[in-house]
């Protein structure tokens, strides 16, 4: 199994795919420093060694390359990073994130520092895939459901559904790691920068 956080002992399916109950609440033992009430998770197999994928992700400054809404991440020290995320109307949302777990080559978990506009936490695991297929990368994000003015911004920010953003970002991460570039149908660099679909 790639992930111990399975569906309440009923079967071997990942926790976030449960049809019942409160999966976010049940992560207590698994995601130690949970921040946020909603959970989204997704796995992707990337045809590269897990140490290489871990190393790229562990340098948080790299994440802006494939995370569409992230303008930049400044690494402040070994465990603290500052996230600047694009919001509608040219605004940005910012927060500090702290690394809460770190196992070289296998696992990184982080959560927003107290007082963040959008309390959130994330966890990414790297497990060698069977049959020489590379690495199974499983990302799990917990976040507060949008409410109020900030909620509206967050909803737009995450295209109403963090799951959509997460799966697209994971696809871009895979493209970048496997091919060295992010696939685009843009006809020229200006279009690519504008991130046309």
């Amino acid at each position: 199994m790639t992930d111990g956080a399975t569906n309440s002992g009923q079967d071997d399916a990942p926790l976030a795919t449960s049809k019942h109950g409160d999966p976010a609440g049940e992560t207590g033992g698994r995601m130690r420093e949970t921040a946020g009430d909603q959970i989204t998770s997704r796995a992707v197999t990337i045809n590269r060694p897990r140490t290489e994928l871990y190393a790229y992700w562990r340098d948080f400054a790299n994440l802006a390359t494939f995370m569409e809404n992230v303008e930049r991440i400044d690494v402040k020290d070994a465990t603290t990073s500052h996230w600047v995320v694009a919001a509608p109307a040219g605004k940005t949302v910012e927060w500090d994130a702290l690394v809460t777990e770190d196992e070289a080559g296998s696992l990184i978990a982080w959560e927003s520092a107290p007082g963040a506009d959008v309390p959130n936490s994330g966890r990414i695991e790297f497990v060698e895939a069977q049959g020489g297929r590379g690495t199974v990368v499983t990302a799990t994000i917990l976040y507060d459901p949008p409410a109020g003015v900030v909620g509206k911004i967050v909803a737009k920010l995450f295209q109403r559904e963090p799951a959509i953003q997460a799966r697209r970002d994971l696809r871009r991460f895979k493209q970048l790691m496997e091919t060295g570039e992010i696939s685009t149908n843009a006809m020229n660099p200006a279009q690519a920068a504008a991130k046309e679909v």
């Binding site: 091919t179 843009a186 020229n188």
Partner: protein, 399 residues
Amino acid sequence: MRALAWHGRHDVRVDTVDDPEIVNRRDAIIKVTSTAICGSDLHLYDGYIPTMKAGDILGHEFMGEVVEVGPGSTLKKGQRVVVPFTIACGSCYHCGKQQFSACDNGNPADNQDIAEKLYGQPMSGLFGYSHMTGGYAGGQAEYVRVPYSDVGPIVIPDGVDDDKVLFLSDILPTGWQAAENADIEPGDTVAVWGCGPVGLFAVQSAFLMGAARVIAIDHFPKRLELARRFGAETINFEETATYDALMQMTGGIGPDACIDSVGLEAHGLFVDNVVDQIKKSTFLGTDRIHSIRQAIVACRKGGRVSMPAVYGGIVDKFPLGALMEKGLTLKTGQTHVQRYLPGLLNAIMEEKIDTTFLISHRMPLEQGAEAYRMFHDEQNDVTKIVLKPGMASAAAATA
């Protein structure tokens, strides 16, 4: 540049648009010398493929000269190349297994959503074939941006005519893969539904793979005549009850392998087709599937059904019982073009496969709208149209 763009059902126009530029490291820019209209372009023309947007540049069968390369391309300026219609990265698990049309990465991340919803997992990108397959600008244009140019395009030796090699881009490997998927054994009888370009290449390929007999089925006399040229026996389904004829012609056994190269716009006034047509017009179904139904029912017990034809949606009245009870094998899929290119280029050079017979018309790109109308309306006489961007300036100069 000038490019043929889709604007709606039965509305394509040659527009002036920005030239493409290098975006990614592995890109190349190709100056198109020849580009064909594919039968599957007619599905776009007829408005059957969702996620098209006005202004989308069409065309996925093209070749030309390399005029610009990114630092990660292995091509060189001045080389002549044929470009596969499938956009594959060459680095993912599926590309490693030579399943190029199943490439994980060729389709941009945001465009993968629709195909993932519809099909469970997204497929590779395609040139000029809707936003579900990537929203890439196609090759019916003066220039094309070709991503992953170190993987896809095949370099053509000097002195070989465009007409001979252009069909490496799609229909020749598609016909070849159709025959390969039929697992032909020496002595087999192979039946081919549809004598369009893919069907005609499947006929040639089936004989090359050892078929004793090929029976080709269509209703356009000129297309049946072309199939006969390659040694096929023919059935005109307007004159003949196809199932009855196939059973008699095979001594009551049925064809060992059946190839459906017709697809979602099957013609003919058959009861199931009429029902499909009504469902399609009322959005209760998407595809007309008469030919694949007939192929499954006609196929001999334990035989093979190969389906290169394009289907996009959900159907009913699919003869699942016949498929199961007779123990048939069904193989299908978009073509893994890159897998077949070196072998098929050799087959062309050694004149084992004839490609040029197919071309009935050569026209300037500027007459693209007229070309689509002709290909759509006059299928007996128009077997294949090749558009030549080069001819446009010549025609303009003499006009």
